[in-house]
Amino acid sequence: MTTRDIVFTAVGAVTALSALLSVTTKQVVHAALWLLVSLGSLAGAYLVLGQELVGLVQLLVYVGAIVVLVLFALMLTRAPIGPHAEIDTPWRQRLAGALLGAATTALLASLLLPLFSGATADLDTPTTTTPQVAQAVFGTWVWPFELLSVLLLVALIGAFAVSRLVLHRDGGHGARRPATVPSGARADGRG
């Protein structure tokens, strides 16, 4: 066991544990906060594996933007403090969720573990991977990348159009209040 192994194990354990807590907690805002811890420590796992840029983008997009939007949306609902009987799930749903989660885990594990069981990464010679990632995205994969950009742009314009439509049906109330439009659209733009 090297120091890196220990750090990686610790970060991985935090990721898994907070993910588990996120789906089992009875308080809806706590679930979002645990999700935050989970996604943040996943960024830490990328960092330990030497993939700096991926880790940072994970932090920027998921922790800094997506979970903030989740929290923001939760706060627009009642999101009570403490457990609440009204928004609890029945045991059947829980059982189905557990089964589905276990099945997905088993499927992914059976697929990925044999594929990457012998894989090693050389972390002792410090190399910067950022230019390689850039070259891959804007060289080899430039067409899929551009296609995805167009898709996101379409989603963004679509979101804008839909919200405008709703506003006009209301009789123009708050038509000059773009706050809800771009913040929703940004999740697509940054994702």
Partner: protein
């Protein structure tokens, strides 16, 4: 410091960053007291301690420590108590990677500009946690306003920084400042304006202090906080000013570029950053608070297009001149 044992070097660097983190925000706080007192003819901050009211900040500190640490009965205890630290720590991490000169830097990270932007975005979660866990309507409103504002202003900010990174051809703050030359003052001017405005909004400083708006929602997300925990939120604000000012100095003013930069490099960076901090304070005393819709309009109708134009301008410049 490369001839030291690795663990000793790490400890020394961490201590140095922590010291800077504790000293620089207080310096900015003291400057704000004095600059505001002079600009607005305020008499209060000029008394404590005699000469020019030098002890006002100490008195404030003593006051915060003495106050009782109250957690409201209906609050979500742990989230409420953790929130100030979640707001504070991102700025500590950001300060660790901002270089004062090529050699004076807490941790020289490869993609440091992405790291700074990423951790600054995390800070808002502290405000959201504080607002929700306080079990107070004013707090919740303040947190929502803060989140809406930060989400809107992060985009122009990232675009402005992307333009600088494009111009320098690097994501490392050290390389960006080294690639800087005086022409950037003109070439990157729209981006610099966008960055400064977006930074003010991210810090929720006046004129962008809608989330705190004391005449409408008491003190926003921080309404229920007292004593040291409240002081931590204030410290986070001032640490934010330090981080943004230094970042502006490194990105747009060339950082350590100046006479005798071999020896005085870090002094130039700190001086430039301090100048930006004074501008931030100056803007606070000279502008009234913006309304929520004006605030969003400014971000989406002015800043985002400006940042996009800057990005195009930079791209053209890079292609033509290199």
């Amino acid at each position: 410091m490369s001839d030291l044992a690795p663990w000793l070097e790490v400890v020394l660097r961490a201590v140095a960053v922590l010291a800077a983190f504790l000293v620089l925000p207080l310096l900015v706080g003291q400057t704000e007291h004095k600059v505001m007192a002079h600009m607005q003819g305020r008499l209060g901050p000029m008394y404590a301690g005699g000469f020019h009211g030098w002890a006002q900040l100490v008195a404030d500190g003593v006051k915060f420590v003495q106050k009782e640490d109250i957690t409201p009965a209906r609050a979500d205890r742990w989230v409420f108590r953790l929130a100030p630290f979640v707001a504070l720590i991102p700025y500590l991490v950001a300060l660790a990677v901002i270089p004062l000169s090529p050699r004076v830097v807490g941790a020289d990270v490869d993609a440091s500009v992405v790291l700074v932007l990423a951790v600054i975005g995390v800070g808002v979660i502290g405000t959201l946690m504080a607002g929700w866990a306080s079990a107070n309507k004013y707090s919740l409103l303040g947190a929502m306003r803060a989140a809406a504002q930060l989400v809107s202003y992060e985009l122009p900010m990232v675009l402005a920084v992307a333009s600088v990174a494009l111009a320098a051809g690097s994501l490392s703050l050290v390389s960006i400042a080294e690639a800087w030359n005086p022409w950037w003052l003109l070439w990157q001017l729209p981006g610099a304006v966008v960055f400064l405005v977006a930074a003010l909004a991210e810090l929720q400083r006046p004129p962008f202090d809608m989330p705190l708006a004391d005449s409408e929602i008491v003190f926003g997300a921080f309404t229920e906080y007292t004593g040291l925990r409240f002081a931590f939120f204030l410290l986070a604000e001032y640490a934010g000013i330090v981080v943004m000012s230094l970042l502006f100095a490194v990105l747009y003013l060339g950082g350590w570029a100046g006479p005798f930069e071999q020896w005085l490099g870090w002094v130039w960076t700190v001086l430039k950053g301090f100048l930006v901090a004074v501008v931030v304070i100056w803007l606070r005393v000279s502008w009234p608070r913006m309304r929520e819709d004006q605030l969003q309009r400014l971000a989406w109708v002015w800043l985002v297009p400006m940042a996009l134009v800057q990005l195009a301008l930079t791209a053209v410049g890079v292609v033509v001149f290199s």
